[in-house]
């Protein structure tokens, strides 16, 4: 019986092919239906492949864009207008006066994704919250170290020593018990990394002994679910039919992975994609009436980080000399076309902890020469600069920036070798391991709290494994950050941060270069808000005309 069926199918198919071939010959063009297909879909030309489909385990913006807002929800989220924290999967929450106990009351009837690889039998509840966070906290959790994953964001904010215990009060109430109060805790829970994953899915995977799939084949509660991923090529999402908020207005969302800047722009110009990540040639885009260029004020900083564990940059004088020798004004003009602010410190102007009175790194070849002489390198030395291979708001063209710095440093006798050509995730990994001598990189804030700038980039905890690629570890600096976190008084915190930044300006583990806006181009057909000041792209409310 089976065989006959198969045979029938084959015959049917071959007939179909024959009839199609004749239609190919007979009919010329008709593209009526394809417009309807494209009206229901959005293609986003992204700049790289995600390293994982679980934002808990990564820090790169590329992976965040592809996962956080599309596939998952958090307990809390940010209000786009005023950066206030607002409810998401948690309906409401309560913080005790000492700030050490936080109780979340969870939303009911929130459905997880139903896909080819998982069918949920129950809705979201407290078990999922426990599962999501215990995975990070508990070293012995069966999902803690599958396939060698790490939790760089949570390590950098020292999550495991902050949270003492997570308690399930009932199915829809959980309580976080902290070891000490932390003023950025709620912000961290609202950030793109603190997503909720399904504990039921975890059980299924652990029974079938395929635990590593938890980060490869994602199940979340977000507005979209994963349909298909072809590494290096594309990601296809379908809308989540039972999404608890307003459902997505499109029938498919496609991330077309196009690392090359020019091919990406070409795709937009030729209608191959609707939204474009990190566009080049802004002026050119503005010339097309059917395209718009979005500008979003973004909390970010681009910097040149020194590997303070490797000579010669273990010497403060050398770092200072290099900082003096770099003409940042020329960099702003050339790389950012003047559309960026010179970074005074790590914090951009829009951050509430921004200190207007702090002194700025000046450009002086003479001072640089003297310092270099003092440091014992009168004739200079040879160093390398690792230039990040992708375009980011904080650094739209690291390779050219590296070339400018190469020319600047040659003036004080330093020979620069530029390292480029690595794939983005490989690059981040090698920099994390400290392969570089200096690196052009940057940071986009995940939430508006200034702690999110200082702790991930420069704290001891994130050195080596997190996102502190300078390997710099300064006890006094860390102490100030801790003090700032334990205070709820904004003026007091401001003072701590000013002191911490003064230490950075003195020690120069990195040279902040610029704060810039984030750009994005899209077809005018695409309506709705996509970008916020921080965090990844969000397609939830986007529609297409």
């Amino acid at each position: 019986m089976m065989k006959i069926n198969v045979l029938n199918q084959v015959i049917n198919k071959s007939q179909l092919i024959l009839s199609l071939l004749t239609t190919v010959l007979l009919i010329g063009c008709d593209s009526g239906n394809s417009t309807s297909l494209s009206a229901k879909s959005i293609i986003y030309c992204s700049e790289g492949s995600p390293a994982s489909f679980n934002p808990q385990t990564i820090t790169s913006g590329t992976s965040i864009d592809a996962t956080s807002n599309q596939l998952y929800d958090r307990l809390l989220s940010f209000n786009p207008g005023d950066d206030d924290i607002k409810p998401a999967l948690a309906k409401s929450w309560h913080v005790t006066r000492d700030g050490k106990m936080i109780t979340f009351y969870l939303r009911k009837n929130v459905e997880f994704h139903q896909t080819k690889y998982f069918t949920p039998t129950r809705t979201f509840n407290a078990d999922d919250v426990l599962f999501s966070f215990n995975r990070i906290l508990d070293q012995n959790h069966e999902f803690h170290s599958i396939a060698g994953v790490q939790y760089p964001f949570f390590e950098s904010v020292n999550f495991s020593s902050l949270v003492n215990e997570i308690e399930k009060i009932n199915d829809y109430t959980v309580r976080f018990k902290l070891n000490n109060s932390d003023s950025s805790f709620l912000s961290n829970l609202a950030s793109d990394y603190s997503v909720i994953i399904s504990s039921e899915y975890g059980k299924q995977l652990s029974q079938s002994n395929k635990r590593e799939n938890i980060d490869l084949l994602p199940i979340g509660t977000g507005p979209f679910k994963l349909k298909e991923y072809r590494a290096g090529s594309f990601i296809r999402y379908y809308p989540h039919e039972k999404y608890w908020r307003e459902k997505a207005q499109i029938e498919q969302l496609i991330f077309d992975i196009t690392p090359n800047n020019t091919s990406r722009l070409t795709k937009l110009l030729t209608g191959g994609c609707d939204v474009l990540a990190y566009p080049i040639a802004h002026k050119q885009i503005k010339k097309y009436p059917n395209l718009t260029l979005d500008t979003v004020t973004s909390l970010n900083v681009g910097y040149l980080g020194f590997n303070t564990k490797k000579p010669p940059f273990d010497n403060k004088l050398v770092r200072t000399a290099v900082a003096y020798a770099i003409n940042r004004k020329a960099i702003i003009e050339t790389i950012y076309s003047g559309q960026a602010d010179i970074a005074k410190s790590l914090l951009p102007k829009s951050s509430w902890a921004y200190d207007d009175t702090a002194s700025e790194q000046i450009y002086s070849i003479e001072t640089a020469r003297i310092l270099l002489h003092e440091a014992g390198y009168p004739n200079g030395f040879t160093m390398n600069i690792w230039a990040m291979p992708v375009r980011r708001a904080y650094n739209p063209d690291a390779l050219t920036m590296a070339k400018l710095i190469q020319a600047d440093l040659l003036k004080i006798g330093i020979q620069v070798k530029i390292v480029s050509g690595y794939e983005w995730e490989v690059f981040l990994n090698m920099v994390r391991l400290g392969e570089h001598e200096s690196v052009l990189l940057g940071w986009s804030a995940d939430h508006p709290d200034p702690d999110n700038f200082l702790t991930p980039i420069l704290s001891c905890d994130s050195a080596g494994k997190g996102s502190n690629n300078t390997q710099w570890c300064h006890k006094g600096f860390d102490k100030l950050l801790q003090d700032a976190l334990q205070s709820n008084n904004i003026n007091q915190r401001k003072k701590y941060y000013a002191q911490a930044l003064a230490i950075v300006a003195e020690e120069i583990p990195l040279l902040p270069i610029a704060h810039s806006k984030r750009y994005q181009a899209r077809s005018t057909k695409v309506k709705g808000k996509l970008l916020n000041a921080f965090g990844g792209i969000d397609f939830r409310q986007v529609s297409k005309k």
Partner: protein, 297 residues
Amino acid sequence: MARNRIYQEEEFPSPLVQLWHNFRQNKVVMFGFGSFVFLFLLAIFSPILTPYSSIQNNLDHLLVPPAWDVNGDVSFLLGTDNLGRDMLSRLMHGASLTFGLSFVVVIISMLLGVIIGSLSALTTGIKSVFLNHFLDVILSIPSLLLAIVIVAILGTGLGNTLWAIVLVLIPQFIHITKNAVKEEFSKDYVLASRLDGAGSFRILSYSIFPNIIEKIIRQATLAQSAAILDIAALGFLGLGAPIPLPEWGAMLSNGLDLFYIAPWTVYLPGLAILFSVVATNLVGEGMRHALKQSKES
């Protein structure tokens, strides 16, 4: 003083002179040859001739279009790139990198290939069979792919790229030399000198080389156009010349991001590569034609 001819003398020009004689007949070929010589001289003297430094940034003149454009500047004849470097100077310097180095590469691989080829022509038996197969295998791998693999072993960089291309080109020279030497060895004049008591090496250097040199030069021109394209392709893929050297392929890939705002940074290096490959191919073509004519005459 008039020269008296006592005997009816017939001049026998050497094969090379004869080749040159035939070669000169075709105007297009001579144009190609002229361009080739021009590029060769440019490759040697570019450091003296360039109007600006090809490496130093000039941030006051970013992305100046070529002089014929409305916004162009005559002092930068072919415009500047995104770091204000003069395109003309960079292209001239690039001539010594892409074209000059391809020439060097071909000479080295030719020498090595001819030596190995003639030695292998003298060997027979299992060694020769093995070598034959090995050459077939190597020749079946696309040259660029092989070069990429060798670069992956040696690490990226201009020097390594050059070695990779040398290694890729050698088998072709071995192949052609071996076949040519074998063919000549079967001819009567070789038999004659062998009867005179000449050893294999003597025959090789005195009798055979002068007769196969044109074939090798012809192969060298083919190899050179391949070498130019390979150096440029590796540069384009970011595996060749390091930043900031103005190798043409690397220049082109540098211009890629500027394609929409400064198209000349893409057109010009491409044209330079095309020009040098056409010049080389014309020389090779002329050589082939001339060879055919000398054989027919």
